[in-house]
C-alpha cells in the first residue's frame, strides 16, 4: 500500500476519534453542570486546560471561560485546529485523498458529518440544544466506526485505520481522566463527598463505561474507576485494551508475530503494553495520577512518531532492498 495512502487512512480515523472524544468531554461537563450546585457550576475552564491549548483560547476569547465560549471554541471554531469541526474537516480531507481505497459509504458518512457541522456552525444548534448536538456528533462517529468494521476488508488499509483510531482513543481516555484531576484539584475537601461520586460517575459515562463498571464493581470508588479505565483488558475504551488492540493491528500490518519486532514502532508500542501488563493502580498512585498520565501520553506520541518513520516516510534509496522483497 502507498505510504501516503496509509498515512491518510491512519489520520482519517485518528481525527474522527478525536472529534468524537471532544464531543464526549463536552457531554460529561454538560451532565456535570446539571448535577452541581451553582457554586460548582462554570467549571468549563478545565476542559480547555486538558487540551493544552488554553493559550490559543485566551488569545481568541480572553479569560471568559463561559459555557458558550468553550463550546464554540472546542466544537465549532474553524480557526482552532483541534475543534470538532476542524477535526472532521481534516478527516474529510484525508478521506478525500483515499476515496478510491475506502468503501464509498465511509466517505459519504464523513462527508455527511462535515456538512452537518458546517450547518451547525451557522444555525447555532450547538448552543441552543447542546445535549442533542453532542449526542448526534457521537452517533456520527459510531456510524463511521460501524462502517469501518462492517464494510472494510481486513487488509492493510483497515489495520492502519484501526491503529490510528486505537492510539487516539487511548490518548483521549487518559485525557478524560485528566479532566477529573483538574476538577478535583481546586477543592480537595470534596473528595469522597457526594459530588465526588457524581463526578467519577460522569467520567465513566463519558467513556460509555458506567454500566460495565457498575456490573463489575458495583460501588463507585475513585481508585477502582481509575484502575478500570487504565488497566482493564476487556473494556474497549480502557487504555490497556486500546493499546493491546493497536499492537495487534500493527503486527498484522508487518506480519511479524507478537513477541518479536521488526521496527521501532513495534518496539515502542510493545514496551508500552508491557508496562501496562506489569504495573497496577498502586504504582500509578505512587507516581502521581497526573504525572503518570502525562508520561503515558508522551509515550503514545512517541509510538505515533515511530509509526510515521516506519511506514510513511520511505527514503529514495531503498530500491535494492525492495527488489529482493518483490521477487
Amino acid at each position: 500500500m502507498l505510504s501516503r495512502v496509509a498515512d491518510s487512512i491512519y489520520w482519517m480515523t485518528r481525527y474522527i476519534e478525536r472529534a468524537e472524544n471532544i464531543a464526549r468531554f463536552i457531554n460529561v461537563n454538560l451532565n456535570l453542570s446539571l448535577d452541581m450546585t451553582s457554586g460548582m457550576a462554570g467549571a468549563w475552564q478545565p476542559l480547555v486546560m486538558t487540551t493544552g491549548d488554553h493559550e490559543v483560547f485566551e488569545k481568541r476569547y480572553g479569560m471568559d471561560y463561559s459555557r458558550e465560549n468553550v463550546i464554540q471554541f472546542l466544537a465549532l471554531d474553524r480557526e482552532y485546529g483541534n475543534s470538532i469541526i476542524s477535526c472532521v474537516a481534516a478527516a474529510r480531507e484525508n478521506a478525500r485523498s483515499v476515496r478510491e481505497i475506502i468503501p464509498s459509504v465511509m466517505w459519504e458518512q464523513i462527508n455527511r458529518s462535515y456538512l452537518l457541522l458546517k450547518d451547525a456552525a451557522q444555525n447555532r444548534l450547538a448552543s441552543r440544544e447542546p445535549h442533542r448536538f453532542f449526542k448526534d456528533i457521537t452517533m456520527l462517529s459510531h456510524m463511521f466506526t460501524g462502517l469501518l468494521h462492517t464494510t472494510m476488508s481486513r487488509g492493510e488499509a483497515c489495520h492502519f485505520a484501526l491503529l490510528g483510531q486505537l492510539l487516539e482513543r487511548a490518548d483521549k481516555t487518559s485525557r478524560i481522566l485528566d479532566v477529573k484531576y483538574f476538577m478535583l484539584l481546586p477543592k480537595p475537601e470534596d473528595v469522597n463527598s457526594p459530588y465526588d461520586v457524581i463526578q467519577w460517575g460522569a467520567v465513566l459515562k463519558s467513556t460509555s463505561g458506567f454500566e460495565t463498571y457498575r456490573k463489575q464493581f458495583h460501588r463507585i470508588v475513585p481508585k477502582q474507576v481509575c484502575n478500570f479505565l487504565i488497566f482493564d483488558s476487556n473494556f474497549p475504551r480502557a487504555i490497556r485494551c486500546c493499546l493491546t488492540s493497536a499492537q495487534c493491528a500493527l503486527h498484522k500490518i508487518t506480519g511479524t508475530p507478537r513477541g518479536t519486532v521488526s521496527n521501532q514502532a513495534e518496539k515502542s508500542l510493545g514496551r508500552l503494553c508491557a508496562d501496562l501488563d506489569y504495573s497496577d493502580i498502586d504504582d500509578v498512585i505512587s507516581a502521581g495520577m497526573h504525572e503518570y498520565l502525562d508520561d503515558l501520553q508522551t509515550k503514545i506520541n512517541l509510538v505515533g512518531l515511530d509509526i510515521r518513520e516506519a511506514f510513511f516516510r520511505i527514503p529514495d534509496n531503498l530500491t535494492e532492498q525492495v527488489s529482493v522483497s518483490v521477487q
Binding site: A6, R96, E100, E108, L115, T319, V326
Partner: protein, 479 residues
C-alpha cells in the same frame, strides 16, 4: 410541470420537432414527465442535487474562499440521441481518432504530411504543444492518444460538427457515470422502456486500454492513475476512475525513478509500477525533460518511458493534434492518411496565421467567434455578435499582434434541450463530449457529457463560465 408552453423557437431542439411535436425517442420520457403530479419534477430535481452533494463529488472553485465547494450544476432532463444518429457519430469519431493517431506518429518521425505540403511546416513547429523531445519515438503499439474527448455541436439544421479535439487529458467522464446513477433513480421506468444504452462499462474498457500497453511478458503488472493531487479541480474524477478500475491512485510524491524503473513508495518499501494513466499535463511530467520548476512530476520518468520501462496514456506530445489551428486541417489529415472523406464535418475555421483568412476575419469580427489556439475552458475567446465595439477592437489588436494565436469560426446556433428554469421549462444550448478509447480497437462510449449553458441565450457551456451538465441517452435500435 407541463411542456404545453414550451417553444423550441428557431433552434434545433433535441427533444421536440420545430412544430412542437415530440421526437420519437423522447416520447416515453415526455409522457412520464407530463403524467407526474404537480411539483413532483421539482422534487426529483432537488433530490438529484442533494444526492450529488452527499456523494461529495464537488470541485473547488479556483481563487475563492476556503469552503466554497460546488457540485457541477445538473439538470435532470436528459438529452436523447437515437440509434441511427449515434452510429454516424461513432463511425465519424473512430475515423477521426484513427487519422489523428497516424498524424502524431508521422509528425514525430518523417513528417511526410509536411513534405507533401498538406499542412505548413511553420504551423506545426510554432505549436506550443509540439514536443521536440518526442521526435523519433514510437509509443507502445504505436498508440499515442489512448483517451480522447471530442467536442461536438449541432447547428440549427441538426447537423453534427466537430468543434474541438481534446487529446491531452480530457476530463468529465466521471460526471457521465455519476449523472447516470442519479438519473436511473430519477426516471427508473423510462430507462427500461426507452432502451437507453448503458455507460457502466467505461472503467472496464479504460482498464483494458491501459492493460493493452503492457508487454505480453508482464507478470503481476501494476497500473496507476497519476493525479496532481486533491487540490486539482478534477481530483474527484481521478480518484473515482482509480476506484472503479481497482488500481492505484498516485501523486508525483508517491513515485520515484531508480535505474530507469518507476517505483511507488509503499509501507513495505519501493514497489515497481508499469503503466500510468496520467492526468498531469506534458509540461509537468518530468522536470528533467519538460518544465524544470514542476513540483508535480517525477524526475527521470521520461528516461524510463523512452526505454520502454514504463508506459503512459496519453503519450506526451499529443497536444499538437488538438491545437485549434491544426484543427482546421483535420479534414485534410483524414483524407491524407485514410483516403476517405471525413464523416463528421469541421466547423468552418479561419486560421488568422493565413493572410487571406486573417483579412476576412478582421473585416467580419461581428459575425465570428474568435478563439485563442492554445487556450481551453472557454477562456481567451470572443463571441462577435455578443461583443461590444471595444471588445472587438481589442481582439483585432490581439489578432494583428499575434496571428498564430487566433482562429475564427462563424457563430453557430447550438442545439438546445428543455431545461428546468424556476417552475417551467426553457430551451438551453448544449454541446456533447463523447469519450473515445484507443486500445485493441477504437471504442466510443455510447453517450458522453452533455454540457449545457445555463444562462439564457448563452452559447458557452464550460463549467468555469456558468455551464452545467445533463445525462446523455443513446437509444438502442429496434430489434
Amino acid at each position: 410541470m407541463k411542456f404545453s408552453n414550451y417553444n423550441p423557437a428557431e433552434y434545433y431542439d433535441e427533444l421536440f420537432h420545430k412544430d412542437g411535436s415530440v421526437r420519437d425517442g423522447a416520447r416515453k420520457l415526455i409522457d412520464k414527465i407530463e403524467s407526474l403530479p404537480e411539483d413532483a419534477l421539482l422534487i426529483k430535481q432537488q433530490s438529484a442535487e442533494t444526492s450529488l452533494l452527499q456523494l461529495g463529488n464537488t470541485f473547488n472553485v479556483y481563487g475563492s474562499e476556503e469552503g466554497t465547494e460546488k457540485i457541477l450544476p445538473f439538470d435532470i432532463i436528459p438529452r436523447i440521441i437515437e440509434d441511427r444518429e449515434w452510429q454516424r457519430i461513432e463511425k465519424g469519431l473512430q475515423q477521426r481518432i484513427h487519422a489523428l493517431n497516424l498524424f502524431l506518429e508521422d509528425i514525430y518521425h518523417d513528417k511526410k504530411i509536411i513534405k507533401d505540403k498538406v499542412i505548413p511546416k511553420d504551423l506545426i513547429m510554432s505549436c506550443t504543444a509540439y514536443r521536440k523531445q518526442m521526435e523519433g519515438f514510437t509509443p507502445p503499439k504505436g498508440i499515442w492518444c489512448h483517451v480522447t474527448g471530442t467536442d461536438l455541436i449541432r447547428d440549427a439544421s441538426g447537423e453534427f460538427y466537430v468543434l474541438e479535439d481534446n487529446l491531452r487529458c480530457p476530463s468529465g467522464v466521471s460526471y457521465v457515470l455519476e449523472n447516470r446513477q442519479v438519473l436511473k433513480r430519477t426516471f427508473p421506468e423510462v430507462f427500461v422502456s426507452s432502451r437507453v444504452r448503458a455507460v457502466d462499462e467505461y472503467p472496464h474498457k479504460l482498464l483494458a486500454t491501459l492493460e493493452h500497453l503492457l508487454p505480453a511478458t508482464a507478470s503481476n503488472p501494476k497500473i496507476g492513475v497519476l493525479t496532481p493531487g486533491r487540490y486539482n479541480s478534477a481530483y474527484f474524477e481521478h480518484s473515482f476512475l482509480a476506484q472503479q478500475m481497482g488500481i492505484e491512485l498516485v501523486e508525483g510524491q508517491d513515485l520515484v525513478v531508480s535505474s530507469d524503473r518507476l517505483y511507488m513508495r509503499t509501507t513495505k518499501g519501493l514497489c515497481p509500477i508499469d503503466v500510468l494513466y496520467r492526468r498531469i499535463d506534458d509540461d509537468f511530467i518530468d522536470p528533467n525533460v519538460f518544465r524544470p520548476d514542476s513540483m508535480l512530476g517525477i524526475p527521470g520518468i521520461m528516461s524510463a518511458y523512452f526505454k520502454g520501462r514504463v508506459a503512459m496514456a496519453n503519450a506526451p506530445g499529443t497536444g499538437v493534434a488538438d491545437d485549434k489551428a491544426v484543427y482546421a486541417y483535420v479534414p485534410k489529415i483524414i483524407s491524407y492518411y485514410l483516403g476517405e472523406d471525413p464523416i463528421l464535418p469541421n466547423v468552418p475555421t479561419y486560421v488568422c496565421w493565413d493572410d487571406k483568412d486573417r483579412a476576412h476575419v478582421l473585416d467580419n469580427l461581428d459575425k465570428f467567434v474568435v478563439k485563442a489556439a492554445n487556450e481551453s475552458g472557454g477562456y481567451g475567446m470572443m463571441i462577435g455578435p455578443h461583443a461590444d465595439q471595444a471588445e472587438r477592437e481589442e481582439f483585432a489588436r490581439r489578432i494583428k499582434a499575434s496571428p498564430r494565436t487566433y482562429i475564427a469560426q462563424p457563430t453557430i446556433s447550438l442545439s438546445q434541450v428543455p431545461t428546468i428554469v424556476g417552475d417551467h421549462f426553457e430551451g438551453r444550448h448544449v454541446d456533447l463530449r463523447p469519450y473515445i478509447l484507443y486500445g485493441e480497437d477504437i471504442y466510443v462510449l455510447p453517450g458522453g457529457l452533455t454540457r449545457v449553458a445555463l444562462r439564457k441565450g448563452s452559447l458557452v457551456v464550460n463549467s468555469s463560465q456558468g455551464g452545467g451538465t445533463k445525462d446523455t441517452w443513446v437509444l438502442n435500435g429496434t430489434d
